[in-house]
């Protein structure tokens, strides 16, 4: 589904990603962990096509296409979804209006008909219930004045509505209370299927208790320095990143 080869990315001539290799197959759940500032969000934004990030080397293939040739909007139509670490606020635009525009844009791109208002509201209610989201939130301005947790639940709701092929969750678990964490996990798990994949960026093993990953990667200083199965998370939780960084430094010598 997604194949990243030797990806180098810089911002303002500063190299941030330095040779990422990652393959995600259909149905797999991958987790990326790593110290602050190591380039995790950068990777997610590059995948989503944010301006200002220059790919200096390497390739990204998604569903058989060269992802870098697609505009952000077309990537979304192709089934790529990014739950942002910091969702933006858009005052004046109601959440429900935005959601409907997004759902219809994706349907239109697939050659499907627009969803009727009745069906749409039914669907929203159902998905909101799944993530225990306060119904009032869809009538407010998009993310405007939402609490940190409410924003994260809203990102999850959008994912549930859009049913992407590849969902990248950038710290969707950060700042959530225990109940919220379970709601978000419930949402993700409800979407898990053979032809849908997830890339979850997280700092905490506790998310991985709720959503079991197939692979865990450690991203540090712009490189994936270790990959493993879910047991790696427990090791990291116990020992931190220091030993890995040391190991890598030793290798380089």
């Amino acid at each position: 589904m997604l194949t990243i080869k030797d990806l180098h990315v810089s911002v303002d001539n500063k190299a941030i990603l330095k040779g990422i290799n990652l393959t995600i197959k259909a149905g797999e759940v991958h987790a990326i962990m790593g110290p602050n500032g190591s380039g995790k969000s950068t990777l997610s934004k590059v995948l989503a096509g944010r301006d200002g990030y220059t790919i200096t080397r390497g390739t990204i293939e998604f569903m058989g296409q060269d992802l870098t040739e697609l505009e952000p909007c077309d990537r979304a139509h192709a089934g790529l979804f990014l739950a942002f670490q910091y969702p933006v606020e858009i005052p004046g635009v109601s959440n429900v209006q935005f959601l409907k525009a997004a759902v219809n844009a994706v349907r239109k791109a697939k050659g499907e008909e627009e969803i009727s208002s009745v069906d749409f509201l039914k669907l929203v209610r159902e998905k909101m219930a799944l993530v225990d989201m306060d119904q009032d939130l869809i009538y407010r301005s998009l993310n405007d004045g939402f609490s940190g947790g409410e924003k994260k639940r809203n990102e999850t709701l959008q994912m549930l509505m859009l049913e992407p092929t590849l969902a990248i969750l950038d710290e969707t678990d950060s700042g959530l209370d225990i109940d919220a964490l379970q709601s978000v996990a419930k949402g993700v798990n409800s979407l898990r299927s053979q032809d849908r994949s997830f890339l979850m960026i997280t700092h905490y093993q506790r998310l991985l208790n709720h959503i079991e990953p197939d692979f865990i990667h450690v991203l540090a200083r712009g490189e994936i320095i270790k990959s493993g199965d879910k047991s790696l998370a427990q090791e990291l939780e116990a020992k931190g990143y220091g030993w890995l960084l040391q190991e890598q430094a030793d290798e380089c010598e």
Partner: protein, 489 residues
């Protein structure tokens, strides 16, 4: 001809001299359908005669013309345009002489046609709007208009062209014309008074709630009212009317200068709601060929507990200068101004309102939303004046600007003059920019740049759009989107 000379007979020596001057100097044939360019007293007399106007109206036009001669063309800090040569304009041409128009749609600006298509306007209507010559004018709205007239007649509402009103209800016209916007008001008001071509007239009798929204669109001659339009709406005590002006489809027009005057009179407990969606041709991408729109719109809350509400969506014109205002004369009267002004490319808009509080316990609300894109300049200028006797006057003003891109400008000039200590005036202003992060967020959800801008802009204008009659609001939303296409990304 003889009929005309009778009309100008008068004891006033100046008038006599002018009349003479007319007898000898006025060479234009009264039967002609168009006047050569130029403005003179003869031209004013010609227009009045051509329309078979009563004496009082001719006199009024002449006074306006003479006053106009003493005035200087106004200048505004935030609007630039080439000097207008008032002698290069023809001040009279009969509707049927539109021979300068394009011969077919092939000759019409393709951008304009694209817009029509996006708005879903039928081909026949497109031709009419684009001013294509010799279009069969029997379009659907004519029959609708006739039906409407019947319904209105039953309610006792008068809704006709200004010229018809002058013929059929001269006493109503004489009693109210110029009582809100005097010809002395400003340069363009004086010019309009002297040479106005036609316009709309509305009269709502006492206690009548007008049974439908009145719209210029349904007035048969609406397309040919010309560049100096004049509208007069009179709401008798306890009556209500909602009036819609304009059309969401951009009108192509041979006349570059437009100087309309609108006068509203609300008597005791009467309410007038006046909505405008204005979409003049703004010129091409470089700003060439657009319309200069200098309008004087004013409402007079003449009676106690009366209410006048202006709602406007402005997207067109190369240059717009316009301040719909309310004079809150009656005690407890209410004035409202809801406005969206959108400028793109090289458009310039200087709009706003004036709320003049004269009665006690008067209340006004101003909600202004300015959107600037491209290289455009958008200025809000608002005056709230509270007279010494206007106890307990209240005003709330909210002025928001939204910038799309980084080459445009938004300016806000609020003026407050309170001469009464009990006045409560509140002012809020914000400026925001459509951020790259916002556009990226929406794009990540599959929403295209144009749709994203449209979504944000419509959200930004919601409070104003909500004031429009339903079907107008939907069209206005579409219109805002279309006018901003390609402004980002």
């Amino acid at each position: 001809m003889t009929k005309r000379s009778e009309k100008v007979e008068t004891a006033d020596p100046i008038e006599e001299f002018l009349a003479q001057d007319y007898e000898h100097g006025f060479v234009t044939d009264i039967e002609t359908d168009a006047l050569p360019p130029g403005l003179s007293e003869e031209v004013v007399r010609f227009i009045s005669a051509k329309k078979n106007e009563p004496e009082f109206l001719l006199e009024w036009r002449l006074k306006a013309y003479r006053h106009w001669l003493t005035l200087e063309e106004p200048k505004w800090a935030h609007v630039n345009y080439p000097k207008i040569d008032f002698n290069a304009i023809s001040y009279y041409s009969a509707p049927k002489s539109k021979t300068d128009g394009p011969k077919s749609l092939d000759e019409v600006d393709p951008e304009l046609l694209k817009t029509y298509e996006k708005l879903g306007i039928p081909l026949r209507e497109q031709k009419r709007l684009a001013g294509v010559v010799a279009v069969d004018v029997v379009f659907d709205s004519v029959s609708i208009a006739t039906t409407f007239r019947e319904t209105l007649k039953e309610a006792g509402v008068i809704f006709c062209s200004f010229a018809e009103a002058v013929q059929d209800y001269p006493e109503l016209v004489e009693a109210h014309l110029g009582s809100v916007v005097s010809y002395r008001d400003n340069f363009y008001a004086a010019l309009n008074a002297a040479v106005f071509s036609d316009g709309s007239f509305c009269y709502i009798p006492e206690g009548v709630r007008c049974p439908m929204e009145l719209s210029t669109y349904f007035r048969i001659n609406a397309a040919n009212t010309g560049q100096f339009e004049r509208t007069l709406i009179i709401a008798e005590p306890g009556s209500y009317v909602s009036y819609l002006e304009g059309c969401t489809a951009p009108m192509r027009d041979e006349n570059q200068l437009h100087a309309a005057v609108v006068e509203l009179i609300a008597k005791e407990k009467a309410e007038i709601k006046y909505s405008t969606v204005q979409n003049w041709y703004p010129g091409d991408k470089d700003g060439k060929g657009g319309i200069y729109n200098f309008v004087t719109k004013r409402g007079d809350c003449r009676g106690d507990h009366s209410k006048i509400s202006w709602t406007q969506i402005e997207t067109g014109s190369a240059v717009t200068w316009k301040y719909p205002s309310v004079i809150l004369r009656g005690d407890h009267s209410v004035g409202e101004f809801y406005s969206v002004a959108l400028t793109n490319n090289y458009q310039q808009a200087d709009t706003g309102t004036k709320m003049i509080h004269m009665g006690k316990h008067t209340k006004s609300t101003i909600i202004s939303k300015g959107i600037s894109a491209g290289h455009s300049q958008n200025a809000y200028r608002g005056l709230v004046r509270v007279a010494a006797k206007a106890d307990n006057a209240r005003n709330f003003t909210q002025c928001d600007s939204l910038l799309v891109g980084s080459k445009c400008g938004a300016h806000t000039f609020p003026y407050l003059e309170a001469r009464n200590k009990t006045a409560k005036l509140e002012h809020e202003a914000t400026t925001s920019k459509i951020g790259e992060d916002q556009l990226f967020y929406l794009a990540q959800r599959g929403i295209s740049a144009d749709d994203a801008v449209s979504l944000i802009v419509n959200g930004f204008c919601k409070e104003v759009l909500n004031e429009l009659p339903m079907e107008f609001a939907v069209e206005a939303q579409k219109l805002l989107g279309i006018n901003l296409e390609g402004s980002v990304g």
